[in-house]
Structures are given as C-alpha cells and as structure tokens.
Amino acid sequence: MKRTLFITLTALCFAAAIFAAPAAAAAEEIIITGSTTVLPVMQKAGEAFMAADPGISLSISGGGSGNGIKALNEGLCQVAMSSRDIKESERKEGKGKGVNAVRTAIAVDALVPVVHPDNPVKNLTVEQLRGIYAGRITKWKEVGGKDENIVMISRDSSSGTFETWQELIMAPDRTAPSALSQASNGAVVQAVAGNRRAVGYIGFGYLNPSVKKINVNGLEATAESALSRKWPIARELYVFTNGAPAGAVKKLTDYLLDPQKGQKAVAETGYIPLSGK
C-alpha cells in the first residue's frame, strides 16, 4: 500500500518522493563488487540466498575485477568478485591498509572465441587467434574465410577477461589498439551478433545461438574440456574477502560452494561448477 501510494505521489508530484522514501528494515548488508564475469553467478545465487536468509541483504555491482579488489582494499566492499588472481601490487596495497585478501574459487570459466553465425570459419589455432588480435592477420581469407576485413572485438583493458585473454592467448604479443573495446561479455556477444565480420571472445556462460563458437586447435569448448584443463583458455573465478570468510560473508561463501545451491546457480548461468566440492 505504501509503495502504491509512493508511486502515485512520484507521478503526481515528483517532489513528494523524498518524504515518502521507504525506510527499510535494518538488515545486515554485504556489499559485493567486481568482475562482470562473476556478476551473473552472484546475482543468480544472491537472489536465492537473500530469499533464504532475509536477515542479510546483498548489494551487488559490476565494474571489473580490478575495481572489486580496489574496493576491497579501500574497505568499500566486503566481497570482491574477480575473474583473475590478485596481483602482487594489489596484495601489497591491501597490506598497507590492513586488508588481507583471501581467495575462494567458486567456478571455472572458459573463454571462447566467437564469430557471427554466417561466418564459415570453424576452427582457429592459438597462433591464428594471436595473429588476428595482434593485428597481423586482417582478412578472414587468411584463415579460411571470406575476403572481408576482420573486425576484432576486445574487452576494456582492465577487465579480468582481457587479462586472461592476454595471458593465455596473446603473450608475448599485445592486443592491437585497433580492436573495438566493449564493456562486458554481453556487449561482445551483442557486437559480434550484429556484425558479420566480427570476432570476439567471451566467457563460456555467455554463449548463445546469436553467435557461433570457434574451436581452438581443433578442440571444442565444453564443460568437460574446460574442467579437464584441455581447453587452452580456461580459468577459475574467485571471490576475495578480507581475511577468511566469517559471519554473514561466510554464510554467503558456503552458500556459493554448496553443490545443491550456489553451484547450481553456477551451472544455470552457464559456467562450469567446481568438481568434487
């Protein structure tokens, strides 16, 4: 009722809104921020978690792995999501502020190169991918496709996905600056689906029929190949906490690692649940 009233007021008189703003019941709040790769898992699991435990409220935002760890070090969040391990410089920075980042793996993600469904190319080697993203291969013709320019779609340079791609595929080369940078996995899917000349790379969880996955070195990206670490571009997804998880945060991490609960959300979001946990 109060909410209905509030809406009416907002519509009729914008100014009244501030007085009617609902005061929420006091709940323990966990602020979670970081990687947009981990975000869908956290949202899915988080909604169920909050429904199961109304005493704890989660505030989840994206922004990237670096942002999450930065926020953890700053004391701006209790849980940082990350798609990469913490860097030595970040750990040192946290130490200086009395923050001891502790890592908990919650899922495995595989990066998958994708192209437009109309693109005839099915397989690329790691070398070819590196050549494309380094700007040495600029035509699809050179890798068995049509006579068209290759439009590379990459991620913002500070995203965990970019760094994983850099480390597992690109090193020692660098991604050419001519790559179009997108803010998220979803945006890469969107961009590739809308462009017949595009190639991109996304987390396993973002694969959908609007894009075509590419085999790497003849191997197909599947849950099995990622878990067995045969897939060349696989990584673990983490949450970082200040010290070992405790209290409400511990409840959350336990929930995430529970095969019947959090790990189910992992599978439902399209990532690969940790085996044996």
């Binding site: 909410r3 501030i18 949202q43 899915k44 922004g63 701006l76 945006a187 899917v189 979001t269």
Partner: protein, 341 residues
C-alpha cells in the same frame, strides 16, 4: 503596425508582396511570409516603369531570399524532426515495456526481468537531493552577484568561475566526485557522494537562471521598498525574491532535469549496477535510471533479451526529463506573457 512588433517584421502578409511573389512563381513558402518593405519597393519600381531589367533583378533577389529562407526553415525542421524522431522511436519501442509492474517492481533474475522501481527512487533522490543543496547555494550566489556585488572585481572573478564551472565536462565532475566525496571525505559510493557531485554540476544552471530572474525584477520595486525604509536584505527577502520566484522555480526545475539525466557524473560516485537493499540512508548506494540504461545496454548479461527493459527505462527517463522541461517552459512562457501585459 505597433511599435512593439517593429523589430520583428510585421506578421500580416502585404497584398502587393503576395502578388509579386506569385508572379515570380515562388508562391509556396512565401505567401505565408511577409515583407512590407520589399513589397513597397517593388511596387514603386513597377509604377515608375523602370523596365523589365530591374524587374528581373528584383525577382532574382526575391528568389535568392526564398532559397535562403527555405534552407533556414529546413535546418530548423531537421532539428525538430530529429527530436521528434528520437522521442517517437522511444515511444514506439518503449511503450510496450511500460506497465504498472515495470514501474513498481525491482529487477529480477539478474536484471533481465522485473521493473525499475529502485532506479526511479534513486533518480528522484539524487535529483531532489542535489537540488536541495544547489538551490540554496545557487540562489544565494545569484542574489549576491546581482543585488550586492555589481561589477566589482570579486564578482567578475566569481562570474568567470561560474562560467567555467558550467563548461567542465560531466565526466570530470565524476572524477572529482570520486576523489573528493567518495574517497577523501570517506562517503563511499553513496547517495550522498552522488548528490553532492550533481549539486556542484547543477550549481551554474541555478545561478544563471536565478540571476536572469532577478534581472527581470523592475528596479522601481526595489526603490519603492528602500524608500519606505526597508533595509536591503529585507527588500530582497520580501520584495525581490517573491517577484523573482517563478523564474527561480524555472531554474530549479531545469537543474532537477539536468541532474536526473546525468550519467557520467554519478557512474563513480553514487550509482551502482544492482542494489537489492532499499535506500535507507544517505550512505546507501543507489540505482539510477540513466546508469541503468547504460549498464543494461553495454554490460548486461544478455543485452538482446533486456532490450525492452532498456527502451522502457529510456522512455521513462526521457518522459521525466522532458516533462520537467515542459513545466519549466510553460512556467517561463506564462511569466513572459504576464510581463508583456
């Protein structure tokens, strides 16, 4: 023809002019237009019998005028058409997403379903909160600049400051807000940081419109009040401000609209992607309509699936902002009409 309308060309078409325009075969757009002077000139020339040659030159001049004015009309048309195009497009795509649930529910299922209620609340709180800070500051600044300082050196430098503040890009406000309010003041990413950043951003808007409103208050009002023995501060509070109130209100609404539509300034200071918690203090992070559109359109989990939500959110934001502007415009229009009388 009244003296008042003199600077803006008479509004009624002149018969002689219409006739000659028709003769030139360029009737279409011109008939609705008007020029007493041209009409008179050409008639005089014809009457004096200056010959076909001059007639031709006159026609050429008139055709050139017609061409230029058509071009100008076209330019204006392009602008207005673009505005309507964007609005129509949003309406077309967004209306289907709008529903009572969309406006009153929180996002569900990783933001791919549900509504935008928290965003509406967040935007309302951010905009109103920032106005709560910038309106007193802005009005006081404008009163000082217009009623007290005149053309002093201090006032000149403040004006320079206000002008340049108005020109600072919103992303720079965002950087400033992040380093000052979020980190240095320790407010964190919160409603407070966001609204303070927005307040600094809208301050020049408020100062500008308030000063304009004060300028419109006749000096005689002030003089009458002062002559009756009121002090200057009393004159301002009792006479000048009430007279300028509608103008100040207009400025306030424009500031509100500006704050509501702003994205870059709140990206790092107040707005978050998703917050389940209802906003219960100044230190809670908030969701905002503008940020919501950006996030859904560029970093959503499934961008295609949430397209309707994006259109819906954009439509709500545009309706909100344009609605506020419309109120401001009507207010100002009324004011001008009243003054003219």
């Amino acid at each position: 023809m009244s003296a008042q309308s003199f600077p803006r060309f008479p509004a009624t078409p002149h018969p002689g002019y219409v006739a000659s325009a028709a003769a030139a075969g360029t009737r279409a757009g011109l008939a609705s237009q008007n020029t007493l002077y041209d009409g008179t000139t050409s008639r005089r020339e014809t009457e004096a019998g200056t010959g076909a040659h001059l007639m031709d030159r006159m026609q050429i001049r008139r055709i050139r005028e017609y061409l230029l004015f058509t071009l100008l009309r076209l330019a204006a048309f392009v602008n207005i058409f673009a505005l309507f195009g964007v609005c129509a497009f949003l309406l077309w795509n967004g209306l289907s997403a709008l529903s009572w649930e969309f406006l009153t529910e929180a996002p569900r299922n990783s933001m791919t379903e549900g509504g935008i209620f928290p965003c509406i609340v967040g935007t309302a709180l951010l905009a109103l909160g920032s106005l709560g800070v910038s309106l007193p500051l802005g009005v006081a600044s404008a009163v000082y600049l217009h009623e007290y300082a005149g053309a002093s050196r201090f006032a000149r430098s403040i004006r320079l400051g206000v002008n340049n503040l108005a020109g600072v890009p919103s992303i720079v406000f965002g950087l400033f807000g992040m380093s000052f309010f979020v980190i240095a003041c320790g407010f964190g990413i919160s409603l407070l940081s966001g609204l303070l950043t927005l307040a600094v951003l809208t301050l020049p808007v408020i100062i500008g419109t308030t000063e304009e409103a004060l300028r419109q208050v006749p000096v005689t009002l002030r003089e009458a009040s002062l002559a009756l023995g009121a002090t200057q501060s009393r004159t301002i509070v009792r006479v000048v401000l009430p007279a300028a109130l509608p103008g100040i209100l207009t400025g306030g609404i424009l500031g509100l609209a500006r704050a509501a539509g702003e994205t870059a300034a709140i990206m790092f200071t107040g707005a978050v992607f998703f917050s389940r918690k209802e906003v219960d203090s100044l230190f809670s992070p908030v969701m905002a309509l503008s940020n919501h559109i950006y996030v859904l359109a560029t970093s959503g989990t499934d961008i295609d699936k949430t397209r309707p939500l994006q259109y819906g959110t954009a439509l709500v934001l545009v309706l909100l902002v344009l609605g506020m502007n419309l109120v401001a415009v009507i207010l100002r229009d009324r004011l001008q009409q009243r003054r003219r009388r």
